[in-house]
C-alpha cells in the first residue's frame, strides 16, 4: 500500500517536473480596446476613456537624483496635456528603488495589472536591459528617457527612446571642444565598474581616434571609489590639454573637486552626468570650465523652453535639469502618437511613435524612427561664471 502511494507521488512529481520545465513562445496578445479609439485627429482628437500611462522611475536609492526630476518633468507634461481638450491621461508612477528586481516587478504591474497603453522609463539602462524584453514581449510601447546606453532600441520594435545616446552627445561635444580649445593631447578617466560609463568610454575613444586627438593618459576607477589621487596625479604629470571624464554623478563631484585642489586646470569634458544644476551648485567654483554635451540646455532657445523652465520652477521651486526636460518631452511625444490616429491602443501608439518627425520640442526638433532611436542635435555647453553657456564652436 505504502509503496503504491510513494511511487504514485514520485510519478506525479516527475510529470509535474517535465511539464513545468517547458517553455512556450507566447504570442504577444494585442487585443485592442475600442473605448481607447476616439474621433478626429491631432488637436481635434477626442477619446472618452482615460488613457493610462505607466512610469517606472528610480525615485529612491542610487539613481533618485535623476528619478525625482524625471517624475516632476513628466507630471508637469501630463498636467499640461490634461488641460488641453480631447484626451485625458492617468499617470501611474512606480518606484524601482534603483534595483533590477523591483524594476521587473514594476513593469509587470503596469503591464499586466494596470494595463497601461504605454510606459515611460526606467531611469537606468541597467534596468532597461532587463525590463525592455518584457514590455517587448507583452507588446507595450516603451519610451526611455535616460536610457542612453548602446543597444537599447535594438531590443525590439516596441522600444523607443527620447534620450540622446551618450555616443551622439559625446561625438558632438568632443569635436566642439576640440575646435574651441584646440586640443591635441588629452587624458581620459572613466569608471570601469559601471556599464553606462564603460560604454561611454568606448564611444569617447572612437571619437578621439576620429578626431586625431592623442590620448596620453588613460586611467580608470570603480564606482564606489572616493579617493582619486593616484589617477589624478598621473593626469597632472601628463600635462594634457583637456581631461575627458566618464563618471556617474556620485563620483563626479569628489573627482572634480580633487582635480582642482591638486592644481589640474585643464578643461574637463564630460557626458550626460554633468548636465545638472545640482552638480554645478555642489561644485561651486570648481565647476568653472566644465564642458558638457547634452540633449537639453537651459540656455537654448527652443520652442517652449522658456515656458517649461518657468512653469517647472514655479511648480517645484527649483530649476529643471536635463532629466526633467527629457521626461517632459516624452510625455508630449506619446501624446503626439496617441493623437496621430486618435487611438490609444498599444499597437497604434507603437506605430505612430515610430513616425514622429521633427517634432518641435524643448529639446529642439526631435524625431523617432521605427527602430526606436532618437534623432536630435546635441547642445554643447561650457560652464562660465556658474552658468551653462552654449559653446559656440
Amino acid at each position: 500500500m505504502r509503496f503504491n502511494k510513494t511511487s504514485g507521488a514520485l510519478l506525479a512529481a516527475a510529470a509535474l517536473m517535465t511539464t513545468a520545465a517547458c517553455v512556450s513562445e507566447e504570442s504577444s496578445g494585442s487585443e485592442s480596446d475600442d473605448a481607447l479609439v476616439g474621433e478626429g485627429t491631432g488637436a481635434d482628437c477626442v477619446i472618452e476613456e482615460t488613457v493610462k500611462l505607466g512610469a517606472v522611475l528610480s525615485l529612491t536609492e542610487g539613481a533618485a537624483f535623476a528619478g525625482e526630476y524625471q517624475r516632476e518633468g513628466l507630471e508637469l507634461a501630463i498636467e499640461e496635456l490634461n488641460a488641453q481638450d480631447g484626451v485625458t491621461y492617468e499617470l501611474i508612477v512606480e518606484d524601482d528603488h534603483t534595483n533590477v528586481e523591483d524594476s521587473v516587478s514594476a513593469f509587470e504591474k503596469v503591464i499586466d495589472r494596470d494595463q497601461v497603453s504605454a510606459i515611460i522609463g526606467p531611469t537606468l539602462s541597467n534596468q532597461a536591459f532587463t525590463t525592455y524584453p518584457d514590455s517587448q514581449s507583452a507588446g507595450v510601447p516603451t519610451v526611455g528617457i535616460s536610457t542612453t546606453a548602446e543597444g537599447i532600441p535594438e531590443i525590439g520594435d516596441y522600444i523607443f527612446r527620447a534620450s540622446l545616446p551618450e555616443e551622439v552627445a559625446l561625438a558632438e561635444s568632443i569635436p566642439a571642444a576640440a575646435e574651441a580649445l584646440d586640443l591635441e593631447e588629452v587624458a581620459i578617466l572613466h569608471d570601469s565598474a559601471d556599464e553606462f560609463t564603460a560604454s561611454a568610454y568606448n564611444t569617447m575613444m572612437d571619437v578621439l581616434t576620429d578626431e586625431d586627438i592623442e590620448v596620453t593618459v588613460d586611467e580608470s576607477f570603480e564606482t564606489t571609489d572616493t579617493n582619486f589621487s593616484a589617477q589624478l596625479t598621473a593626469i597632472q604629470e601628463g600635462e594634457v590639454d583637456a581631461v575627458i571624464l566618464s563618471a556617474l554623478p556620485a563620483a563626479t563631484i569628489p573627482l572634480i573637486t580633487q582635480a582642482r585642489e591638486l592644481g589640474i586646470e585643464a578643461p574637463i569634458v564630460g557626458g550626460n552626468a554633468f548636465n545638472s544644476p545640482v552638480l554645478v551648485g555642489s561644485l561651486e567654483d570648481a565647476a568653472e570650465g566644465l564642458i558638457v554635451g547634452g540633449a537639453w540646455s537651459a540656455a537654448a532657445e527652443t520652442t517652449g523652453n522658456a515656458d517649461f523652465i518657468a512653469a517647472y520652477t514655479e511648480k517645484y521651486e527649483r530649476a529643471p535639469d536635463q532629466f526633467a526636460a527629457q521626461a517632459y518631452t516624452a510625455g508630449y511625444l506619446i501624446d503626439q502618437a496617441v493623437r496621430a490616429d486618435c487611438d490609444a491602443n498599444r499597437e497604434a501608439i507603437k506605430d505612430n511613435l515610430g513616425q514622429i518627425l521633427e517634432f518641435d520640442s524643448i529639446l529642439g526638433p526631435i524625431s523617432l524612427d521605427e527602430n526606436g532611436e532618437v534623432t536630435q542635435n546635441a547642445f554643447v555647453q561650457i560652464i562660465r561664471d556658474g552658468e551653462f553657456t552654449l559653446l559656440e564652436g
Binding site: C22, A64, V104, S105, E108, D112, N126, P133, D134, S192
Partner: protein, 564 residues
Amino acid sequence: MLAGYDTLITTVALGAILAYSFYVVLMAGQLSLGQAGFASLAAYTSTLVVPTEPLFGSLSPVLIGIPVGALVGGAAAFVLGLPVLRLRGVFLAIATIAFGEMVRVFMTNAEWTRGALGMRLDKWVTIDLAWIVVAVLAYLFWRLGPSRTGRAFAAVREDELAAGSMGVDVVRTRMASFVGSGMIAGVYGVMFAYFFGRITPGSFDFGLMMDGLVTAVLGGYLVFFGPVLGAGFLSAVPEGLDATGLEAGWVYPFFTGLLLLAVILFLPGGLSSLFLRRRRRPKPVELTDAERAGLFAGYSEPGTEIARVRGLGKSYGAVQAVRSVDLELKSGEILGVIGPNGAGKTTLINMLSGLEPPTSGEGEVLDVKLGQTGRSHRFARAGVSRTFQHSKLFNRLSAFENVLVGTHVKVKGTFLKRLLWLPSARREEHLALAVAWEQIRRVGLEDRAHLRPGSLSYGDQRRLEIARALASYPELLILDEPAAGMNHVEAGELAELIGSLAADGITVLLIEHNVKMVLDTCTRVVVMNFGEVIASGEPREVATDPKVVEAYLGAEDTGESQYV
C-alpha cells in the same frame, strides 16, 4: 488570481533559493558569506554551456544550466574551503566576503564576460521552474533535518568539541555544509541570470549577500521551510506597504529594518520558530532483541589491555601540565584518577580521548594512536566516549536530541536513504531512537526528555551528558568530574550507575574529587600531582600512601588517613 504577479512570485522563489545557500551553512554554525562569488562563477560559466534553443523542442535550456551551476558552485566552494575552513566566526566571514569581491573584480575585468556591460541572455526561467527548485530544496532539507547527517550539522553548530567527541567528523561536516552552500548558490546564480535575462558582475555584490543572509536569518535556520518563509515575508512587506498607499521612499527600508530587529530580539530562531513553539514529547521506542545483541557485540574480553601510554607529556609553552605518565587500562576496570586541582588530570584524559595531541611520549587507545589534532571522532568511532568537566551540551537541541547525537557512531548514515524513503532508513532511525531512549531512561531523565539542557538542573545536565556518552555504546567511558554539583544522594545513585556500567562490560575512567565515591566505586586508583603519577594501585592501599595523604587527602591529627 495570481495573474500579473508572476515576477513577484518568482522573485520570492529566487530569494528562497539564495536563502537556502545561507541556511545550509548557518545550520552547521558557519558564517560563510561567499555565496555571491559562487553564484557569479556559476552564472557566467553556465552561459558557456546553456543552449540558445529549447531542448527537444520544448524543455527549458536552463535544465542544463542548473546542474552545471551546482557543479561549478560546489567545486569553487571545495577549493576555497580547503584554505579558509580553518577559520571560524567573523574571520571566516571576512575571508569569504573577500572571495566574493575577488570574483566580482575578476568578472568586471575579464574580456569574455564583457566586463561591466554584462551579458544579455534569454529569459528561460519560468515561475514553475523556480518553484520546483525551491520544492526540491525544501524536500532535501526536510529529509536532512532528522537524519544522522542533519544531527551532525546541528551538533557542529552547537559545540564542535563535543560533536567531535561524539564521533562526528567536524572537518568533513563543515566542508559538506560549505560545498552544499556553494552548490545552491551556483543554482541560484544560473536561475537569476536566466530569469532576469541579464548578468553583470555587479549583480552579485555585497548587497546580494546581505539580502540572502537577512532572508535566512529572518526565516530562521532551524526549520527546513525557514528560507521560504523569510523570502515570502520580505516580499510581502513592500507589497503590503504599497497597498496602504504610503509612498515615502524611506518607509520600506525603515519597516524592513524594524521587523528584522523585532525578529532578532524576540524570535532568535527566526519566523519559522513560531511553528516550533510547542515541543512535542518524543514517543518512547524500545530496542528489539536483535538490535540489542548487535550493540553489545565486540567488547574485549575482561582483563585485556585496551589502552596503554608510555612517557606521555604535555606542555603549554613553559608550563608542563603532564609529564612522563605511564598508564594502562584493562577491559572491565573502573580506574579512578584523583589529585589536587591543576594536577593534570583533565589534560591527561583530553589526550586519551584525542582532543589534544601529546607533546611527548606515545600511546594507543583501542588501537588508535595518540597524535594529530582534530581527530577526536576517530577515538569515538573506536569506542571511546566522554563527558566534560564543564558540561558541553548542545543547548538548542532538546535533551533527547542531545542523546540522539550520541548514537552517531552506532547508526549508519541515513540522509540519502531518507531521500528515497528506503526501509533501511527507518530501521536505522528506529535503532537510533531506541538507543537514545534506553540511555535517557538509564539516567532517569525520560520525563524531561523534551526539555532543553538549559532548563535542567545542574545534576540533571551531568546525567544527560553521561546518557549522551553512553548512547555510543562505548567500550571505554571517560567521566570528568561527573559528581561535581551533585548532592550525596545523587552522587550515590551515580556511583551505582557506574557500577552497573562496569557490570555490562564497559571500562570506566573516572576523574572525581569526591574521594569517598572513588574509593567505593573504583577497582584501581591513580593519584596525580604536578602532572606526575605519584601513586597507583588498589583504592585502600593508595588511600594510606603517605605521599598521597600529604599531597591530596590530608590527615587528621592522628596522622591516619580519614578515608580508611
